[in-house]
Each structure stands twice: as structure tokens, then as C-alpha cells.
């Protein structure tokens, strides 16, 4: 299994990268960490004529934590983001989810933005971006635009970025001081793609009751499926448990799992509900701890 021949481009600036992408058009692909692209090239499932390696492009390797969110540049490796203490403190869902992305050795090379650009419906980070209501910044010689997560993911491995567009970064809004988060998944072996997974955000009101709850599921649809659970959870006190049967029913109705060699659709639907129950409980607990000024484990 050897990858097919391609022309290699190593731009040094975003401008150069965009010029090259415009020139090579649909025959070109961005190469970031290579942990998804190189396997498919090795298996000859993809044979782009040109690879535009963004590994040496200036200014794409920054994690910036602002008052509103965490902005992650295109060449930030999963591992770098996972280890980032300030990003973790303000937005713990990132590390909670990243620990489930592949194995540490893959995370050393793979990028978080690459995983979102790849739009794999089984990936963890697309669900995280979706549940937080984040956005993707894409650039081309035609200009730069921000795309909401809800509009970015179009189908399995399909995003709304055009072939000549580079995703320069993504922004993950913070859940906020009264927010708690959790990521729950089941994989056959730790580090494998999950059979199903869920990212959960619970926001409390000033009295410590649930003001809103959202979940985004991975592995049970063509794109990350976001379900607003507020109607089923509002007013619940997290300590009494907010993973109500209503919330689970609502979610099970919204997802569209398929059967494959790993699990049947019915099992995935069941599992998604179980994971949601755990996620709501954990996120609720953390929201309470956070609102009381404690650390959110």
C-alpha cells in the first residue's frame, strides 16, 4: 500500500497557500496532520494531484483564549489543544472530548481543525463545535468568511468549504460560568472511533436550576446531530438528576443511526440514550461545581 504520486507544495504564508489552492483547484488537497488523508491515500481511496502542506505556514499554530471562546488555528495538533491549561479551564469540553480522539500517538500529529474540515460524522470534535454553536473561518483568494457549525457540516466527509478554500481556524464558544459539559462515548477499544458518542452542555440559572441543555451526537447520523433538550430539562435541579426519560426520548427520536459490522441501528439508538443520561448527569454536576466557584473536573 503506497500512496499515489502528487505534486508537493509547501507555502510559507496563508496568502501563498490560497494562491496555490486557487491554481490547483479541485485537483488539490490541503495536508495538515495527515492522520486521515494519508491513510486514504495509502489505500488509494484518494489520489489528489497536488498536496498543499500547511505545516510550515506562519501563524496557523496558535490557540487563543478570549473572553468569549477558544480560537484554534489550522495547525494546532489535538495534543497541543488537549494540554492547553487555560483553554481547559475556560472550556473543559475540549479536553473532555479530545481524550477520546484516537490514540495519543495519532493526536501528536492530527489537528483539531483538520478533524473538523474532514467532517467525519464519527469524529468527536465536529460534535463539540456543533453543541457549543461555534464557527469555522474559511479563506480563499475570493475572501474570508465565517461559517456556523450548523451550516458547515453537510454530510459524511462533506463540508460547505469549497476545494480552493482553506479552513484557517475554528472558534469554540465557552460554556460560561454557569455551564457544565461532558463528553461520553462507547468505543470497542479505547481510541477507536466510537460506536456512538455525545457532547453535552448544561447551563444553570441563578437559582441553580437547569436553564438550558443541549447535546450533539456523533456516530448516529450523517453529520453531528444537535438536539435542544431544554424543554425536557428546564427547571430540573442537577443533583436530583436531569437525565429525564423525556430528554432521552427526545434525543432517540432525533438521531438517525445506521447498522454496520460494529453495531445495529437499534443498539446505537439505545446506546445514545444511555450515554446522554450519563452526560447530562456529569455536565449537571460540573455546572453546579462551577457555579459554586469550584473547579470543574
Amino acid at each position: 500500500m503506497k500512496p499515489p504520486a502528487f505534486r508537493y507544495h509547501a507555502p510559507r504564508t496563508v496568502g501563498e497557500a490560497l494562491d496555490t489552492l486557487a491554481e490547483v483547484g479541485g485537483d488539490g488537497k490541503v495536508l495538515a496532520g495527515g492522520q486521515s488523508l494519508i491513510p486514504v491515500m495509502n489505500m488509494r481511496l484518494a489520489s489528489p494531484g497536488h498536496l498543499v502542506d500547511i505545516g510550515g505556514v506562519e501563524g496557523l499554530d496558535e490557540v487563543v483564549v478570549t473572553a468569549d471562546g477558544v480560537r484554534v488555528g489550522a495547525m494546532v495538533r489535538h495534543r497541543t489543544l488537549e494540554r492547553h491549561e487555560e483553554a481547559h479551564r475556560r472550556n473543559p469540553l475540549l479536553r473532555q472530548a479530545l481524550s477520546h480522539v484516537a490514540h495519543p500517538v495519532i493526536r501528536n500529529r492530527g489537528t483539531t481543525v483538520g478533524s473538523i474540515a474532514h467532517a467525519d460524522p464519527a469524529g468527536e470534535m465536529p460534535a463539540v463545535l456543533a453543541v457549543l454553536g461555534g464557527h469555522v473561518t474559511v479563506a480563499s483568494v475570493r475572501g474570508t468568511r465565517d461559517v456556523d457549525a450548523a451550516d458547515f457540516f453537510q454530510g459524511p466527509l462533506q463540508s460547505s468549504a469549497a476545494p480552493d478554500e482553506l479552513v484557517t481556524g475554528v472558534s469554540f464558544p465557552h460554556p460560561g460560568a454557569r455551564g457544565g459539559t461532558a463528553f461520553e462515548e462507547l468505543a470497542r477499544r479505547h481510541g477507536d472511533y466510537a460506536i456512538a458518542g455525545v457532547a453535552v452542555v448544561v447551563i444553570l440559572d441563578e437559582d441553580g436550576r437547569t436553564a438550558s441543555a443541549r447535546a450533539a451526537f456523533t456516530g448516529v447520523g450523517d453529520v453531528p446531530i444537535v438536539v435542544d433538550l431544554t424543554d425536557a430539562c428546564v427547571g430540573a435541579v442537577p443533583d436530583d438528576g436531569i437525565g429525564s426519560p423525556d430528554a432521552v426520548e427526545l434525543a432517540r427520536g432525533a438521531i438517525a443511526p445506521e447498522s454496520d459490522i460494529h453495531a445495529t441501528a437499534a443498539y446505537r439508538r439505545h446506546l445514545a440514550g444511555v450515554l446522554l443520561g450519563r452526560g447530562l448527569a456529569a455536565a449537571g454536576r460540573r455546572a453546579v461545581a462551577g457555579a459554586e466557584g469550584g473547579t470543574r473536573p
Partner: protein, 176 residues
């Protein structure tokens, strides 16, 4: 179209090396074919088995999922770079030997380098951390129990000797 060749330079096990190769040359093949360092093994070639794991700037990575041309001027450590010049094994290698953590040995170079990277970050791992630390590597022979023991022994030996988890044994001239 005749394939364009690139001048590829890097530092492998502390020594500068160079060769001309096409952009599609995987780091695993660059090490094995161009540099004749066949200690790096190739199993699945799509990132799943871990046999091809090497250290890039001290961090474990799949050499089968890395184009050589993308690691110009980087520091690469392969299994050949761990024992001391006089043949003294690195504590991780010695632990694999002592605990019978290998049978056919095909997976071993990848395991050893993954474990080096893991122990650099977790000098005193508990059993769960060890399991997770080796979860990215497959072994068809041992059943993993002796590999767990090897990691635990190596952790203790590294702490006792102060030898760097990702450097050459006995600290002789290897990349730190």
C-alpha cells in the same frame, strides 16, 4: 510525468542524513529503503497497528502516516537509536527482554518507542494509564500482559537511573 525528487534532510538517531526521494515517500519507507534502517517495521500502513511508531522531535508518531518531505530538518529517533554505543539496552528495551514482552518481535520496535514517549509524559503510571498508553499498538503474539509488566518495570528503572525515556541508553551521545 517523471516524478519530481526532493532533497530530504533530517537528523536520525543524532546523525544528519540526506537522500533524494519523491514527495509521496512515507517516513517509514524513507527510513527502511533510503536509509536502510529496517528496525522500523511496517504492518498495516494506515495508522492502526503502531508497528511503525518512531519519535519525531521526541514525540511518538506513525511513520506510515508521515511523508518524509514534511519532516525536513526534524529529529527522528528509531529503535536503532535507543541502545548505547556499547550495546547496553535502553531500560525500556531491557524491560521488554526481562519480562518476555515479545515473541516474534514484529510489533516490538513500535511498542518500545510508543512506551518511551508515554513514560516521558507519565513517569509513574498506574495500571489503567499503562493500558491506555499501549492501546494504540497491536501485538498478535503476547496477549499484552507481559507488555504491561514491561512498562511498569521500565518506569521504575527509568526513575531509578535517571536515563531519559526518549534518549539513548546510558546517555551516550543520543538525542535528548
Amino acid at each position: 510525468m517523471s516524478e519530481e525528487l526532493h532533497d530530504i534532510r533530517m537528523v536520525v538517531n543524532g546523525a544528519p542524513v540526506a537522500a533524494r526521494a519523491p514527495a509521496r515517500r512515507l517516513l517509514s519507507d524513507f527510513l527502511r529503503h533510503d536509509l536502510e534502517l529496517t528496525g522500523t517495521h511496517v504492518g498495516c500502513e494506515h495508522g492502526v497497528c503502531g508497528a511503525c511508531t518512531v519519535l519525531i522531535d521526541g514525540e511518538p508518531a506513525r511513520s506510515c502516516l508521515t511523508f518524509a518531505v514534511t519532516v525536513q530538518d526534524r529529529d527522528i529517533t528509531t529503535i536503532e537509536g535507543l541502545a548505547a554505543e556499547d550495546g547496553t539496552l535502553h531500560p525500556v528495551q531491557q524491560a521488554f527482554k526481562d519480562t518476555h514482552a515479545l515473541q516474534c518481535g514484529f510489533c516490538t520496535p513500535g511498542f518500545v518507542l510508543s512506551v518511551c514517549g508515554f513514560l516521558a509524559e507519565h513517569p509513574d503510571p498506574d495500571d489503567d494509564e499503562i493500558l491506555e498508553g499501549i492501546s494504540g499498538n497491536l501485538c498478535r503474539c503476547t496477549g499484552y500482559q507481559n507488555i504491561r509488566r514491561a512498562v511498569a518495570q521500565a518506569a521504575g528503572d527509568l526513575r531509578a537511573t535517571g536515563i531519559p525515556a526518549c534518549g539513548r541508553a546510558a546517555g551516550q551521545g543520543g538525542p535528548e
